[in-house]
Structure formats: C-alpha cells, structure tokens
C-alpha cells in the first residue's frame, strides 16, 4: 500500500512538474504547479511529516499558487509565447547532467542504504516542533518574523513607487 501510494504521488508530482515547464498557457502552468504541490504534500504525509504537509498545502497551494493566478489575471499578457527551440537542447543537456550527477552521488553513498532501516518518525509530533522552535531555533524564528515584516514593507514600497514616478511624469 505504501509503495503504491509513493508511486502514485511521485508520478503526480513529476508529471505536473513537467506540465509546469512545458505548458504554453500560464494559467495551466499555475494549475499544474498547484497539483504538483498536492503530490509533494502527499509524499510528506507518507514521510509522516503531517504538519509540514498541511503547511505546504496551506501556504504553497493555497497562498502562493493563488497569488500566481492573481498576477496572471492582473498582467493579462497577450504575448504569443514564441516557441523557444534554440536553447532547448542545451538546457535539456544541462538539466540532465545535473540530474545524473545527483543520482550518481546518491548511489555512491553506501550509508544511505543502511539509514533506510530507520527509527520512528520525529516529524509527527506537534509538541516536538513547538519545543524545538522556541528553544533551539528561537533566534531563526525571530529573524524569519523580521524578514516577513521587511518583505511586506518591500512589497508595499514596490507597488507605490511606480505610481509616484508615473505621477511625476
């Protein structure tokens, strides 16, 4: 059952990832992106990281993909996507080389096979997360909060400044 579920979610993830890359229509690409994230969330559940699966669905598939769709709607680019075939072969070669290096690295590491006979999941307990976040990782949590504040301010400034310059013209 576990293997079937892994195959299902892995296939969903990979097919939708390819869909994101090759789709000409941006809206379809964003939808594929959302489905791909659902697949990854399923894999997180299989890895017993339930909280992360939920957060991934909430933040990524909920907020980020919706934001992408919103921007696509807002921009309304009528540009006909030109077929980019000049660099397709080069790009495919580089990406395949990256994949080959990654897979080779995994297969030459014999310790990975031993680790597969693993201990229990640690990501299942919400209490563990909270404890770690507010003791060991307290400083990063504070920095992340500050980063979010700065990002919010940055977005506001970015959205307003253009209007100001346009008004000056």
């Amino acid at each position: 059952m576990g293997l079937f579920l892994f195959n299902f979610f892995a296939l969903l993830t990979v097919i939708c990832a390819v869909g994101v890359v090759v789709n000409k229509n941006t809206v379809n690409a964003a939808m594929c992106f959302m489905l791909c994230l659902v697949g990854v969330a399923g894999l997180f559940v299989l890895l017993e990281a339930y909280l992360l699966a939920f957060v991934l669905l909430l933040v990524y598939a909920g907020a980020v993909a919706a934001l992408f769709l919103f921007i696509v709607m807002l921009l309304d680019t009528h540009s006909q996507p030109r077929p980019v075939r000049r660099f397709a072969l080069v790009a495919a070669t580089i990406a395949a080389a990256l994949l080959a290096v990654a897979v080779l690295t995994f297969h030459q590491q014999p310790k990975l096979a031993m680790a597969a006979a693993s201990t229990g999941a640690s990501g299942a307990s919400l209490k563990d997360y909270a404890y770690q976040l507010f003791t060991t990782y307290l400083l990063p949590v504070q920095i992340i909060g500050f980063l979010l504040l700065i990002a919010m301010l940055g977005v506001i400034v970015l959205s307003r400044k253009i209007e100001a310059t346009e008004g000056a013209k």
Binding site: F6, V14, L52, A95
Partner: protein, 98 residues
C-alpha cells in the same frame, strides 16, 4: 526507500532547473524556481524522516517561510516591471545590455 525519495527530489529539481533555463516567461521561470525549492524541501524531509531527527523538518519550516516572502517580493517586482515595460518576456528585457 530513502533512495526513491532522493531520486524523485533530484528529478523534480532538474525539471525546475530545465524550466528556468528554457522558458522566456518570467512567471514560468519563477514557478520553476519554486519547483526547485519544493524539491529541496522534499529531500530534507526524507533525510529527517530516515535519520530520526527533527532538524530537517524545522529547516523546511524556515524554507517555506522564506519562499513565501520571496514569492511576494518577486511577484511585486514582476508587476512593477510590467507596468514600466509592458512585457514580462525576458528576451525583451535587455536594456542593461546597451
């Protein structure tokens, strides 16, 4: 089993990288970047699960937060760019060349 997750993660990362190299639409390039981030989080969660520690999971937390901030700022930049240049195709955004 760990191998399967890592190979899948590498595959998704390569697909996202391919998209970043291939596509000319800024939004799709951005989605490719997000795919690469998600692939790396998958590898981290798998390592964390098979290692029996929680460090990787916590790190994925931070990655998700930073990615959310990055998407907000990136999309704001794209919107500002579109307002100024009326295009989001990277081929036509070459004013720094001259």
């Amino acid at each position: 089993m760990l191998h399967s997750y890592l190979v899948l993660s590498a595959l998704v990362f390569a697909i996202g990288f391919f998209g970043v190299l291939l596509r000319r639409n800024t939004l799709i390039i951005f989605m490719g970047l997000e795919l690469m981030l998600v692939a790396s989080t998958l590898a981290l969660v798998a390592f964390s699960r098979f290692n029996g520690t929680i460090g990787g999971d916590i790190f994925v937390f931070f990655i998700l937060t930073v990615a959310a901030a990055e998407v907000a700022v990136g999309l704001a930049i794209i919107v500002a760019l579109f307002r100024k240049r009326q295009t989001i195709e990277v081929d036509e955004l070459d004013s720094l060349k001259n």
